[in-house]
Chain length 93, copies 2
């Protein structure tokens, strides 16, 4: 469904300034099945909950874009991670 | 992170034979943070569980590919859906 290529965006920047990021893309191709429910809004909530189980995510660090036409729904979630601190660790910045 | 374009693969085929599909792509760009845990294996399990809450998925209908280099881990999950039957519905084919 997606044609995609991996392009780490900050190849040029030095490692220290490079941000840690998580990107999730979902596409639901309904294949002419008009009656099929739109799963993406439900999955969006579940996926964000799953991520928050493993890493602390600031509210304003999450960018969500959703698009839909008659055959294809897509959801893009971009999350800037706080340099890899996981929920359990008590390390403060 | 991803450069991507949406290309519904079966544009030419008639709607009846077009399959219903769900595609999930995850990318974790560690931004030079070598100590950051690899979230993708954990997220893979949680995302599949989230999907199975909403739609019946046959074991052999799931294709998973994972790649990792020093800066970027990526996970691709392709799922062929059984024409939109949700877990609750008792409609049999």
């Amino acid at each position: 469904m997606f044609g995609f290529s991996f392009k780490p965006r900050n190849k040029g920047k030095s490692a220290q300034t490079a941000k840690e990021r998580l990107q999730i893309l979902l596409a639901h191709e309904r294949g002419g099945n008009g009656s099929s429910p739109d799963y993406l809004p439900m999955l969006q909530r579940d996926i964000l909950e799953a991520i928050k189980k493993h890493v602390h995510v600031e509210r304003d660090a999450v960018d969500i874009r959703m698009e839909r036409d008659d055959e294809l729904s897509s959801l893009e979630i971009n999350i800037e991670l706080p340099g890899g601190r996981t929920v359990q660790s008590s390390a403060s910045s």
